[in-house]
Symmetry: C2
């Protein structure tokens, strides 16, 4: 038989998985779907990825790094409240742009060795943003947690259609961001 090779790689498999998730939601992430998209039989994926569980982890890393990149450019050249607001808006914007992808992001990256590095980098960006407030290490951690809780809470609810009433969501988020900024040192 003369069948040209698909020329797959772990990266290409994750690319396909990302496309599947973007198009059909996290629930549609199945090895069968990824195989179909890459033009390969399902078991062939095991040559590049250990299984569905590992694919999910690799996808998580990808999304984590993707978000970190956006955050980094969002805070570039900003500081103080300006930077924090940019961070919060970048978070929401990312989730709005890629809701299904966001659902693929692990919420506890630090607990998986494979994800810890990517999670740590994202944490670093936030901690760096807070540095100008002169927060001590522990205080910075508490504040980072608050920022994350607020951004994740709002964004995940918005992405899953959790806000059913017609009021403008931009207004709600502005109010939330204002409240958070007011709670930072020096305000």
């Amino acid at each position: 038989m003369v069948v040209p090779r698909a020329g797959l790689s772990a990266t290409a498999v994750v690319d396909a998985a990302l496309a599947v998730v973007d198009e059909a939601g996290l629930g549609a992430l199945t090895l069968a779907a990824v195989a179909a998209r890459t033009g390969v039989a399902t078991p062939s994926l095991y040559k590049h990825v250990a299984g569905l569980a590992e694919l999910r982890v690799l996808l998580g890393i990808r999304v984590l790094e993707d978000m970190t990149g956006r955050f980094t450019t969002a805070v570039l050249g900003r500081s103080g409240d300006d930077a924090v607001a940019a961070l919060l808006h970048a978070y929401r914007d990312y989730v709005r742009a890629h809701p299904a992808r966001y659902a693929a992001m692990p919420l506890d990256p630090l607990h998986d060795p494979a994800l810890a590095a990517a999670g740590g980098k994202q944490l670093e960006v936030v901690l760096a943003t807070l540095r100008s407030y002169g927060l001590t290490d522990s205080a910075a951690v508490h504040t980072t947690r608050c920022l994350r809780a607020v951004a994740h809470g709002f964004a995940s609810l918005e992405a899953s259609g959790g806000f059913g009433l017609p009021e403008d969501l931009d207004d709600t988020y502005d109010q939330l961001v204002r409240t958070v900024l007011a709670g930072l040192p020096g305000n």
Copy 2:
């Protein structure tokens, strides 16, 4: 054969589903597991429940109502900041007590006719709690959303082990609650 009937009902099936979720997590919620727990063959469950999708909805209603009950008792006899703080703490406490169950709660109840009633009741409790601040209808909605985003964000991150560092989570939540209360009218 003389096989006594199991005497199942939709309610009993949901009870079993809840037990499965509490013990083994939402990912373990399978008709096979529920059937095993109720001592019945898997297809027999279809006599009481239309399928896994409906079971999930019924479970969602149950959890939603359960939470609403806690919220109601939490705000009883309180008002203003005191009531809002009680609400936020009741939210977190519920999720800590039943993390897997919370994951079974739909975030967008208003979009499913079957869930809308239960979701609306929960919303009512929060809106009633905010009444003493004299917020107009639209402002009350924005504030309710903020409260929900904060509570859901923190609680879901905590429940999924999203806070990896050793700092005390009670301290973080206190800070968050304080910030939110400070953002309410009259503070």
